[in-house]
Symmetry: C2
Subunit: 426 residues, 2 copies
Amino acid sequence: MKKVVIIGGGFAGINLAKGLARDKNHTVTLVDKNNYNFFPPLIYQVATAYLEPSSISYPFRRLFRGKQNIQFRLGELLSVNTSENKVVLNNGDLEYDYLVFATGAETSYFGMENVKKNAIPMKTLNDAIEMRNKLLQRMEKAAICKNSRERRKYLNIVIAGGGPTGVEISGMFAEMRSGILRKEYPELSTTVSNIYLVDGGDALLGPMSRQSQQDTLDALTKMGVIVKLNTRVVDYKDDTVYFHTGETVVSKNLIWAAGVTARTFDGIPAQCYGRGKRLNVDEHNKVTGTANIYAIGDTCIQLTDPAFPEGHPQVAQVAIQQGTHLAQNFKKTAAGEALKPFRYHDKGSMAIIGKNKAVVDLPKPKMHFKGFIAWLMWLFIHLMSLISYRNRVTTFYNWMTSYFSKDQSLRMIIRPEKRKSVAETT
Amino acid sequence: MKKVVIIGGGFAGINLAKGLARDKNHTVTLVDKNNYNFFPPLIYQVATAYLEPSSISYPFRRLFRGKQNIQFRLGELLSVNTSENKVVLNNGDLEYDYLVFATGAETSYFGMENVKKNAIPMKTLNDAIEMRNKLLQRMEKAAICKNSRERRKYLNIVIAGGGPTGVEISGMFAEMRSGILRKEYPELSTTVSNIYLVDGGDALLGPMSRQSQQDTLDALTKMGVIVKLNTRVVDYKDDTVYFHTGETVVSKNLIWAAGVTARTFDGIPAQCYGRGKRLNVDEHNKVTGTANIYAIGDTCIQLTDPAFPEGHPQVAQVAIQQGTHLAQNFKKTAAGEALKPFRYHDKGSMAIIGKNKAVVDLPKPKMHFKGFIAWLMWLFIHLMSLISYRNRVTTFYNWMTSYFSKDQSLRMIIRPEKRKSVAETT
């Protein structure tokens, strides 16, 4: 009976745990600092008040109910003791036979302290809720602000990073501006506000096809988003975003979707980390130079897949496939069978721009879709991917109603009272 | 054109505003410290993770969309300047012709500082979310706690106050204990935990019929809740609840639903306040001794209704009827017509104990219902009362699924990261 400890319950960790469910040769303890799994491709919809947090998340304990060899542990990893095969958490220790890092990636500000301090990240569910609350509060402040230059600061939005998150969120804001803002903030009807989407590269949606990139640029421009390519943010202070071109934009809202980095771990030697702090792994996702430590998903880099000599992209599909694959390899090991090397099967990529607007690239046969048909494909894939039946139905319901009513009704600023401590101390 | 300023957007304030919507003789500004209205009768379901916050709340701006004489203002009242007919908010001033207090009631700890510091209140949506997060975190702590006495502290729950909230929440906990706790916390399967419901009076649901009181006591006892009547909490420290009888219970979870008090306001003379700090009002809800200041709902006390010589109960129905009535009286004043005194029409009272279990008292004809039929009545009334169509449908959907699956899937601990400030400072 092998003890598998998984650190992190995202796509990679969940799929590994599921793959080992009810297996007679393994017990699994999944450690996460949250008590829920969530679906990152849709957090931008939570951030813009189209979806509830609960529509895209699910408690681990519910997920593992009845799977008796899987335990959940709420906790944070402090360090690894490789000589004793033990991890130290903030609330106790765990022994392992196999340790698996599935910790994903976190927001990187490329060392810019002002950006880190003042920008709004878009990586976790907490980020999304914080963004929702901040933007709603700023709209209320704009509504009572007498100075038109100040008012524009509250309403201007700069989104850094032209990947799927940046594209999706700027499309959302463009729709909010012509919907909610116009209908429910009569105080602001005469204020002109701008939405900027900036990216350091020469195209949006870098890894997608030229056609998808151009369609996206066209659609966003038509929706009134000001797209600035070949432009990097270099500083953010005094409510002003500074670009490397010397240009500036006044705005209290800089949304940061421009970069990620992996985490490092106390007890894991420095030579284990590769590009972007990702753990170097072999073709079986074992961390190079270790005996029984593995890494899957965004936190690892694997240079052994012939089709991806530079490593795999940090996307959901890779994490899911690596989690499932590692579970199979653990089972093969237990059965004394030969292991299979990991190979990524690219199922294509997609991004949504707005209602009826999306782009989809399929690899084999190579095809490109846009507009309503791409939007339907996006909707179908994302609905099917959501993990629980319940989530699927309410998510679908919320989307349909907001689609037909062009409305978001989740715009409550819900936050703990200031007088109270948020942290649990007892 | 009269300027009506309403402080507070609960049942009373909302119904006053709605009653004046599109009226040619009045403009309305509704001030609230939240940007949403919520439905207090159901916050206990949010607290126990059966309903989403958004299922029982709705943004004011959405509510007033298209009603051009109604404005929403996010802000907190600091003081009233009666000589200049002006209110001072934390973010500006507003002038009024009529000022209406619809501020409801807040939790009272009867001067017990330890209780205030350590107990969990159950009055606002924020309270409910905090309670949900705290209890979920404590269940996780119990799951890794090795000491059985400590473990019981995390799991024991004491609910103070045997009104509808106390009854409803203890019923919920009893159901959670036999559902979620047993199925998803295998670590805790052998731990005995107790649920106590305590009240200073000699019956639960004080104002309801003897029969309802007895049915409720029987049902809760059968569900394993330990009901202690004629028992008052006198202190709460070192994870121990002290009762006036000398008894104690060890528990980290004291839920406080035992008392409310009204608020006082800077600028309103002390002689305007009556019992429980409620503002004394005449039969038209005008605050005694003022020319153009009104109070409606829980924050006022009216001794002019022949059927209620002691004042009205602090319940939703009174607030709703007073709000609607005051709107009519404002319109009558504008039209030069005679005002009507307020008379409360009691439509009955109800409380839910658990699935298939509720009690209902109807006044005319005097009737009592219990069990499944009462539960259906409760469900119907509450669904119909929820303000928006959207909320009605998703609420219904959540209830139905949790009813058939005996499950709550909203148990995500979602809270801002500790490293970040919750309060908006810019």
